[in-house]
Symmetry: C3
């Protein structure tokens, strides 16, 4: 915890995944809410997608941040807002694309969450 999931449509051909993950993790580190090593981020590209029903060129990025339950709404809003702000700066829209950027905050149930670390 936290877990970050960067989900995006494959027509965003300018999206540099490694850079995005680095910059978004940086936002989380800078928030002071998390230990650096605990931030586990991944990207998922959707090759099959459909936005509405129209043949127009549309794309989306859906960022999901899962954090332990118990944080205040103010903290969650702030994290969500900062991630969206960074996402906006990072996104150089492809010519002719209509891109929806979304940030969702999910809560992990603390009492049933288990974790362990293996080092070799």
């Amino acid at each position: 915890m936290p877990h970050l999931s960067l989900e995006y449509t494959s027509n965003l051909t300018n999206l540099n995944v490694n850079r995005f993950l680095h910059e978004l993790n940086r936002v989380l580190v800078d928030s002071g809410q998390f230990e650096e090593i605990d931030i586990k981020s991944r990207a998922v590209r959707f090759d099959d997608f459909l936005i509405g029903l129209s043949p127009e060129q549309r794309a989306f990025v859906h960022l999901k941040l899962s954090i332990m339950s118990g944080r205040t709404m103010e903290t969650k809003r702030e994290l969500s807002g900062r991630l969206l702000e960074r996402l906006r700066e990072l996104c150089e829209s492809d010519v002719g694309l209509h891109v929806q950027l979304c940030v969702e905050v999910l809560e992990i149930e603390r009492e049933s969450y288990s974790k362990s670390v293996i080092t070799s």
Copy 2:
């Protein structure tokens, strides 16, 4: 919002992803609950899966609909039921397959959700 995720096992070789996404989005548009352009749908195929422990030919489709919190249970049930109905009609089971179809409705926390649109 809404976000739709069509997740399915790769042994469903007759599943036409583009058609499914179009038909499911159509159900959401026709419900009158959402703006057409807001419906963001994606498909995810699982090449690695296991249903129970048996070597039998089994498959599943797991449809996840994420909508903003605040809608009534009646509305959520209706959306879930309609999507399942359409899914049933669309699925032509492969010979010999036992297919489980599931529709789950998830709520997005409205207060911490952020969104922005980029057009170029």
Copy 3:
């Protein structure tokens, strides 16, 4: 229901997906909480990921168990703990990797969940 999702970073090259799914499903069957055929498990490998900001060799496994709402916290904790225990036994860490293992329990809203079975 239940749905199990085994998500892992692609640098875990020793991870045998089929064996993991079988062993984790076995844990769920042995718990006595579920019908064998209802256990729908899938694996997702992340080729693009970043843990924190450091260039160190880090990996993670994120196991998500989605069950119907209504079970006691004790049951959820027990399921989570047993899955983590099995995961630990299964994971033979690659040399030099720091691996975080996480098990999250999610609740599916019972009232809006729809299901159907097709057999051919």
